[in-house]
């Protein structure tokens, strides 16, 4: 969704970086609507395990995706300290559960490097590339595919 | 004090168009949706000029004009008939019913105002 910026020559983009466990990732700030603290979600029956449930966002029903689990990591133990990043993906608003927000980065799109081969398939399908910032490696997450893929299986 | 004109037409489109043309010319416009309603508004507003359609439900233009003319109070009020019907027959009926003048739709707003001005003076 933010690919337009990666046109020739590279342009400056802002990203929100966050932590999941020991790793850092980021997403284009243009898709971020707000950041809020964790509140317990209402479970959704027969949902994939990375969909924690839904919460009330000022009158709308917001699904919460455990980004760790989605990326193939162990699920996050959610407490009041965890954070939900509310993003817009396509026509829908969803909440991403992460451990903490770490930074706002301004980077040129030129700096986005391809994802290293060691990443798992799952991770690769969502991580578009990596950014090297201050010696840290920050994976850039592609939001569009997050909610699609093998879901909606009539159980 | 601007001159009041009563427009009687069951078509909202027509009422709107008449209102726009006439208010721009400085007239005050009151509206009615059919002949019966027109009689009501007439007694409340006592307009200087009446513009009425012919084909309307409840009480059509002819009936409306006749009743207006039948009322002493409104004897000399100019009534302009606004209609698409151009048959000689219908014109005569309107005339006989007591219409003062006849304007054919679609009307040119400049001409409409012109006629009204002459009739209202």
């Amino acid at each position: 969704m933010t690919e337009k910026n990666a046109a020739a020559g590279g342009s400056a983009c802002e990203f929100i970086a966050f932590r999941i466990g020991a790793q850092e990732f980021c997403i284009d700030i243009m898709s971020v609507r707000e950041i809020r603290g964790w509140t317990p979600a209402t479970e959704l029956p027969h949902a994939p395990s990375y969909v924690r449930g839904v919460i009330n966002l000022r009158g709308s029903v917001l699904p919460i995706v455990d980004l760790a689990e989605r990326l193939g990591f162990p699920p996050i133990e959610a407490t009041a300290r965890q954070v939900i990043i509310v993003v817009q993906v396509g026509g829908q608003i969803i909440g991403l559960l992460v451990d903490a927000v770490s930074d706002i980065l301004t980077q040129s799109t030129e700096n986005i490097q391809p994802t290293p081969e060691v990443a798992t398939d799952v991770a690769k399908s969502f991580v578009r590339g990596v950014l090297a910032v201050d010696g840290r490696m920050i994976g850039l997450i592609e939001l569009d595919s997050l909610m699609s893929a093998p879901l909606e299986k009539a159980a | 004090m601007s001159i009041t004109i009563l427009t009687v037409d069951d078509s909202r489109t027509m009422r709107d168009m008449l209102k726009v043309a006439l208010t721009e010319a400085g007239y005050r416009v009151v509206q009615a949706v059919d002949g019966l309603h027109g009689l009501e508004v007439l007694t409340q507003e006592a307009p200087r000029v009446i513009i009425t359609d012919i084909n309307m439900p409840k009480l059509d233009g002819f009936g409306f004009i006749e009743r207006v003319r039948g009322n002493q109070r409104f004897l000399g009020v100019p009534i302009l008939v606004l209609t698409t019907e151009s048959s000689v027959e219908k014109k005569n009926i309107a005339r006989r019913a007591g219409a003062t003048g006849w304007i054919v739709k679609p009307f040119d707003s400049v001409k409409l105002v012109d006629v009204v001005r002459r009739v209202a003076a």
């Binding site: 027969h46 699904p63 909610m147 | 489109t13 009480l59 009936g63 698409t84 006989r96 006849w102 054919v104």
Partner: protein, 722 residues
């Protein structure tokens, strides 16, 4: 320009209304239920459209409307009889008119050939009528666009070269009627003055003495000398409207040698005497076109009187008299959302107050109660704003049936009931497609061809009935046909072929009927052109379900089929029972709940492998553990510690749902799950409770359906309902 755009929008909206009236009237005429007022209304509808179209220079539309109007006028004046053929033409013309309106609105092309063909038909009717009535009518001569409005000055500027000026001697003796009709001599003179130079003289010789003077009489004669370059026609035009009410003579006094006789000669030489006050008589005498006209004129008052009588009781009709305002739909939607939030907040407040223990205090309780009542009223009021009758939707169906009838060669008529039933606009909009598909299917597949029907001893014309009604807080819509009913062997065969069902499956009649709703079951082996790409009933079913509705089918061999839709009145709120299931709070739609009970051990029986039933009203109803089914817990809960809700599905089967406890019953605002997520099987939507948390709303039908698949052993029982 903005105003004109707004008025243009008004015009097209009005066209829709007029087209609706037209449809209603023609259908009534078709069914022999029309009176003269119906015919008038139909005429007026087309006339109105023509008038407005002319104002916006929509020539194609004007032209067609004019032809249509002419034909209708002939019917109205009883010069053209309403035969079936004539009505068919009228109905087709109405459809073409609707197309032309749409084309004019969206600036699209139309089927020119069809338009022309219908114009020919309409003209044919006019010919027919004229032929029958002796052909003396020529009132269709003029194209309205060419007609010169009267009472307008032809040319405001005087001719630069007055060389061609002729002097006319004009003698004008107005009769009292002239004034009575609002005309004034002064004005006429002023009009003349615009044509050229005039000088006037007044002849007051006929003026009687004061005591004999009738204040409403007319005794004066004006003599005017007018020098103008205009021709006689221009002068005559000034008097065109008063010509019946005066004595008038126009004589050129120069050039043209012998003063040509003026076009208008005084009809009768009444003379300007004291007896001039004879309004009615003068009318008669001045009738140039024959007695027929006056009869018509005289018949106007009685008709008008009748209309007044009729109009009295109709005064209550909101349409013409009640003021309306136009509001942006967006504003209404926003308002409705806000009111929804208000309801939630009010519920939250009530809850918090109760938790704080304040509700014991009667004044607080009373206040909360009043608040809840008020909120509910506001909500109902606001929902009513968006509520609309289904009539326009049904009328669209009417047209579809007409077109299909022509295309398929079958004879079908549409009967509608409950058109005035009001439904929230959001529901209506989303009903259009599914309803269209069902109607198409009914005509295409339901009703048999005339010969088949005849062979079966049925009337050649089939009937499709479309009805709407409010029933226990929902709207129920039925589409039924009197066709052959569902061909069950065939349906079953197709299902087997498409591997939707096992070849040896035991299926009841109802089961077979429901096969139609399975995805992948295309209704026609030969994809019918009419029904589109074999639009499956599964698509229809999903659309209805997405609306929070249910659809069911029943069919009788040889007699026909009926599709029943049950829809919420609005997509916004729902009356529900809030229950607790394994630490989760769920909402069960109240309309599905038949009863609640605390099960007794003696009532619960095991059946098959792990299945359980409960006895209820003489029958046995399968027990379903909600918590287990939704995956909230691994094993089934103990039904005796909880509560059982007996619910009824759309196919009228019953189930008993085991929940932990019932909280309360309340109206909840429906929040979409699909907006930001997707459809969850078994779940209809979500709502936000008083504590701000999201609670899921159970969708009984899909929920039960899923459990059925999981517990086939209990299937036979489903048929045994109380």
């Amino acid at each position: 320009m903005d105003t004109m755009a707004a008025i243009r929008e008004t015009f097209f909206q009005e066209c829709e209304e007029q087209l609706g009236e037209l449809e209603v009237g023609l259908v009534a005429m078709d069914e022999g239920e029309a009176d003269s007022e119906t015919v008038n209304a139909v005429f007026r509808a087309v006339h109105s459209i023509k008038g407005g179209a002319g104002a916006f220079k929509l020539d194609r539309l004007v032209r067609f409307a004019h032809k249509f109007e002419t034909a209708l006028d002939l019917v109205r004046s009883e010069k053209l009889a309403l035969s079936t053929a004539v009505l068919k033409t009228m109905l087709r013309a109405a459809d073409v008119l609707a197309d032309l309106v749409k084309a004019a609105r969206t600036d699209e092309p139309v089927d020119e050939a069809r338009v022309e063909s219908l114009i020919d038909e309409l003209e044919g009717l006019a010919e027919q009528a004229r032929g029958a009535s002796g052909g003396d009518q020529a009132n269709d001569q003029v194209e309205p666009l060419d007609f010169q409005p009267v009472m307008l000055s032809i040319d405001d500027e005087p001719e630069a070269a007055p060389t061609a000026a002729t002097t006319y001697a004009i003698r004008l003796t107005p009769w009292p009627d002239l004034y009575r009709k609002g005309n004034e001599t002064v004005r006429l003179l002023r009009e003349l003055a615009r044509l050229g130079e005039i000088s006037t003289a007044c002849d007051a010789r006929a003026l009687p003495l004061l005591d004999k003077l009738d204040p409403e009489g007319a005794y004066l004669t004006w003599r005017v000398e007018l020098a103008t370059a205009q021709d006689v026609a221009a002068i005559e035009e000034v008097f065109e409207f008063v010509v019946d009410d005066c004595e008038l003579e126009i004589v050129p006094s120069r050039s043209g040698a012998t003063g040509e006789a003026p076009r208008f000669s005084p009809i009768a030489d009444i003379g300007v005497g004291p007896s001039a006050a004879e309004p009615i008589e003068s009318r008669e005498r001045s009738a140039p076109d024959g007695a027929a006209r006056q009869d018509e004129a005289r018949s106007q008052p009685p008709r008008a009187a009748q209309e007044v009588e009729k109009a009295r009781p109709e005064q209550g009709r909101a349409e013409a008299a009640a003021p309306t305002i136009r509001v942006d739909l967006e504003r209404v939607d926003r308002l409705i959302n806000l009111v929804g939030e208000l309801v939630i907040n009010q519920a939250m407040l009530s809850q918090r107050v109760m938790e704080a223990g304040l509700a014991r205090s009667s004044s607080v309780a009373a206040g909360l109660g009043a608040l809840e009542q008020l909120t509910r009223e506001i909500q109902e009021g606001v929902m009513a704003i968006r509520a609309q009758p289904v009539k326009p939707l049904f009328q669209r169906m009417s047209r579809i049936v007409r077109e299909l009838t022509e295309a398929t060669g079958k004879s079908v008529r549409l009967r509608t009931e409950g058109e005035a039933t009001e439904v929230d606009r959001t529901v209506i909009e989303r009903l259009a497609d599914p309803l269209t598909h069902m109607i198409r299917n009914a005509v295409d597949h339901g009703v048999e061809p005339p010969d088949v029907r005849a062979a079966a001893g049925k009337a050649a014309q089939g009937e499709v009935k479309l009805s709407a009604a409010h029933r226990s807080g929902r709207i129920v819509i039925e589409v039924s046909d009197d066709g052959a009913g569902i061909d069950r062997p065939r349906v079953r065969a197709i299902a087997v072929k498409k591997e939707l069902v096992a070849p040896d499956a035991q299926l009841s009649d109802a089961d077979i009927d429901n096969l139609l709703f399975l995805p992948g079951f295309s209704t026609a082996a030969s994809v019918s052109n009419i029904s589109g790409r074999g639009v499956g009933m599964d698509v229809v079913k999903r659309s209805i379900q997405a609306l929070g509705g249910r659809i069911s089918i029943s069919s009788r061999q040889g007699l026909g089929s009926t599709f029943s839709l049950s829809l919420p009145l609005t997509l916004a709120v729902l009356d529900g029972m809030v229950v607790k299931v394994a630490d989760q709070t769920l909402v069960v739609p109240l309309t599905a709940i038949v009863e609640t009970l605390r099960p007794k051990r003696s009532d619960v029986h095991a059946l098959g492998l792990g299945g359980r039933v409960i006895s209820d009203r003489g029958g046995f109803v399968p027990l379903i553990d909600v918590g287990q089914e939704l995956g909230y817990r691994d094993g089934a809960a103990d039904p005796f510690g909880g509560v059982v809700l007996v619910v009824e599905t759309e196919v009228s089967t019953r189930c008993a749902l085991v929940v932990d406890a019932i909280h309360d019953q309340r109206q909840v605002v429906i929040k979409s799950l699909e907006a930001n997520y997707r459809q969850v099987p078994g779940i209809a939507a979500a709502t936000i409770l008083g504590d701000g948390r999201v609670a899921l709303i159970l969708d009984i039908d899909t929920f039960v359906a899923r459990t059925n698949r999981a517990a086939p052993a209990s299937e036979p029982l489903l048929a045994a309902t109380g």
